[in-house]
């Protein structure tokens, strides 16, 4: 491939050992890449391990979570092997992160200005006036109205949308090469979500950042991402560029998600939900983890876990249907159930 990757995650495993016998394999052999200057969307439902993967990149997984295996190559260097002090130099500097809850992600007892300047002081050698200037510039950059006033305000004085802008300002303070956004708009109203997504897109183009956007919203993915990784029960089940994924999704889970989604832009007669529910982390199926819910599952699926295999257009899919070993009938996994 000619595209350079800013981040390559290889066979990452992040486990939570609750006690001797109970281990939650939240991230269990995840691999994907973030191409430089592009946006990768990570989609999946709760419990898919998408957020834990992102936190693993910054090595911010809380106890008892632990990266037990795999590599996280950032510009070719393995973050898993870095010392804590080296990681601290990367956090907030080369890789930044914004979170889902703007309401609780800012410290309530420090002013907005102080929280922005903190990042600047950690990573850059600035005198006070320079830091003040830069903080103000950042607030202007993220489009906050009357930025001078905001510097001395406290988070509780700002609306949810403005707080998320402040979070973005903090994240961008040191011109990161990679921005990880974990459900950045989930807690916001749609009109505010539209503002924030627009802002992230603009800034990405302006600052030549790569973005990793974690979301459960397929609409957000379609509009903002260049590539998509679909995760299910701790594994990537499909990876493709965004057009390919929405045009010809291959994994039955991806298809199930698309068919479950009630849409506002077209009239749909019927939703086709995925039956059953996500398996308990303590009782993961032996074979394909989606097999118990999959309408096409065969004996092979129940027994053996398929690999994530490359298809045409760089699409990758973890499903027996697309292999030579497939033991079932020929099936048509995806039929668009709506006309667009």
């Amino acid at each position: 491939m000619t595209v350079e990757n800013i981040l390559e995650i290889k066979n990452l495993k992040t486990y939570f050992s609750l006690d001797k016998d109970r281990v939650v394999k939240a991230v269990d052999g995840v691999s994907y890449v973030v191409p430089k200057g592009k946006t990768l969307g990570i989609v999946g439902e709760s419990g898919s391990g998408k957020s834990i993967t992102a936190l693993s990149v910054l090595r911010l997984v809380d106890e008892p979570g632990e990266i037990v295996d795999g590599e996280i190559l950032f510009k070719g260097e393995d973050l898993v092997k870095k010392k804590v002090s080296e990681m601290r130099k990367i956090r907030g500097n080369q890789i930044s992160m914004i979170f889902q809850e703007p309401m609780t992600s800012l410290n309530p007892v420090h002013s907005v200005g102080k929280q922005i300047k903190e990042t600047l002081h950690i990573h850059e050698d600035l005198i006070r006036q320079e830091a003040n200037h830069k903080a103000l510039d950042l607030l202007k950059l993220v489009g906050i109205p009357s930025p001078e006033k905001r510097l001395t305000q406290y988070p509780f004085e700002l609306s949810g949308g403005m707080r998320q802008r402040v979070m973005i300002a903090i994240a961008l303070a040191c011109n990161p090469e990679l921005l990880i956004a974990d459900e950045p708009t989930t807690a916001l109203d749609v009109t505010i979500q539209a503002q924030i997504l627009e802002l992230i897109k603009e800034l990405q183009a302006e600052l030549h950042m790569s973005v990793m956007l974690i979301t459960h919203d397929l609409g957000v993915v379609a509009e903002t991402c260049d590539f998509v990784a679909v995760m299910y029960a701790g594994k990537v089940v499909e990876y493709a560029d965004v057009d390919t994924l929405f045009e010809s999704p291959k994994h039955p889970y991806t298809v199930g998600l698309l068919n479950s989604l009630p849409r506002h832009d077209i009239k749909m007669e019927e939703l086709t939900p995925i039956k059953g529910m996500v398996p308990s982390p303590f009782e993961m199926p032996e074979g394909c983890r989606f097999a118990p819910r999959c309408p096409f599952a065969t004996a092979l699926c129940q027994e053996k876990l398929p690999d994530l295999e490359k298809k045409e257009n760089g699409q990758e899919v973890r499903c027996w249907i697309y292999t030579d070993e497939w033991d079932g009938e020929e099936v048509k996994v995806y039929e668009p159930n709506a006309t667009t």
């Binding site: 956090r91 992160m97 979170f99 800012l106 007892v109 420090h110």
Partner: protein
């Protein structure tokens, strides 16, 4: 902020009014005729009446109360029934001794309590944490007079490092302050620990770490600041407890403080001294909690400062 302080000060007025009323009524709801007590055993009815007249005990109750409040505002509490000295003189120096004792003990409890609580929280479930919490449990369960006696036994009597009694020099201050401050330190340690644990799991702590902040800075600048908010309230209540505890500590260490004075005079029903002491202690408590309210506001930016 200024408006807030003024408002809180104005709100103190009814509280202090209530305090004076209770203190005033104390004399009248306790059994026995005060004039008879003062006149001494076997005094004639005439003498008793004279005493009552001189003290104004024959005036209507509400007038007596008004005189009492007017005098109290001028810090004039009359003369002691036992010594005949002005009450203000009797209390004066002793009051400062007790305040010193309470303030030093508070400083000790806050200092030790917060440090121990933070260490415990940061090393949750570790040997250190368990150790600190066990110590805190002991500190909390031990009556301060007993702790005082034990400290005196070891450090004053056996090791002879410090004098066993009195007040003034640093060596005299140490033992009573430890005896009185230990329970407070234990309460504050436990409070700080649980408050810290709650704060550490908040989203903004993760944000701080994601910035590349050093762990020490995360704990002190980001977590502790927030964790202290509930602790501050406890400190205010603690101060009231210390004033009460001072009575026993002063007795154990033979310190000439307000507490000991009160205990002495209760035995001899020296009402002016008791009333004045209770009034002063209550007022002090009210003001300390007023200060707590203000610091609470300073710490907690979420409360609007109108």
């Amino acid at each position: 902020m200024f408006k807030f302080i003024v408002r809180r000060l104005l709100q103190l007025i009814p509280v202090l009014f209530g305090v004076t009323l209770l203190v005033f009524l104390m004399l009248h709801i306790t059994p026995g005729n005060p004039a008879a007590i003062l006149a001494g055993e076997g005094a004639s009815q005439e003498t008793i009446d004279n005493v009552a007249n001189r003290l104004g005990l024959n005036e209507p109750l509400h007038m007596q109360y008004i005189y009492f409040v007017m005098d109290a505002i001028r810090l004039d509490f009359g003369t002691s029934w036992r010594t005949g000295m002005p009450v203000a003189d009797e209390i004066g120096s002793r009051f400062w001794v007790t305040v010193e004792l309470a303030v030093y003990s508070t400083i000790l409890s806050v200092f030790i309590g917060i440090i121990a609580g933070v260490i415990s929280a940061v090393r949750r479930y570790s040997f250190t944490d368990v150790g600190i919490m066990l110590l805190a449990l002991f500190g909390l369960s031990m009556p301060n007079f007993w702790l005082g006696l034990m400290l005196m036994q070891w450090f004053a009597v056996q090791l002879m490092w410090v004098p066993a009694s009195g007040w003034g020099s640093a060596s005299q201050v140490i033992l009573p302050v430890i005896a009185l401050g230990t329970a407070g330190a234990a309460i504050i340690a436990r409070m700080t620990r649980s408050s810290m644990l709650e704060v550490i799991s908040q989203d903004y702590i993760r944000t701080a770490r994601a910035k590349g902040t050093k762990e020490r800075v995360v704990i002190y600048r980001h977590a502790l600041r927030n964790a202290l908010i509930p602790v501050v309230t406890v400190v205010g209540l603690q101060f009231g407890y210390l004033l009460g505890g001072a009575v026993l500590t002063e007795t154990v260490f033979a310190i000439n403080g307000l507490g000991r004075l009160v205990v002495d005079r209760i035995a001899s029903r020296d009402f002016p001294v008791i009333q004045a002491s209770v009034l002063i202690i209550a007022t002090l408590f009210v003001f300390v909690n007023f200060l707590v309210d203000i610091s609470y506001r300073l710490l907690n930016k979420r409360i609007d400062l109108d």
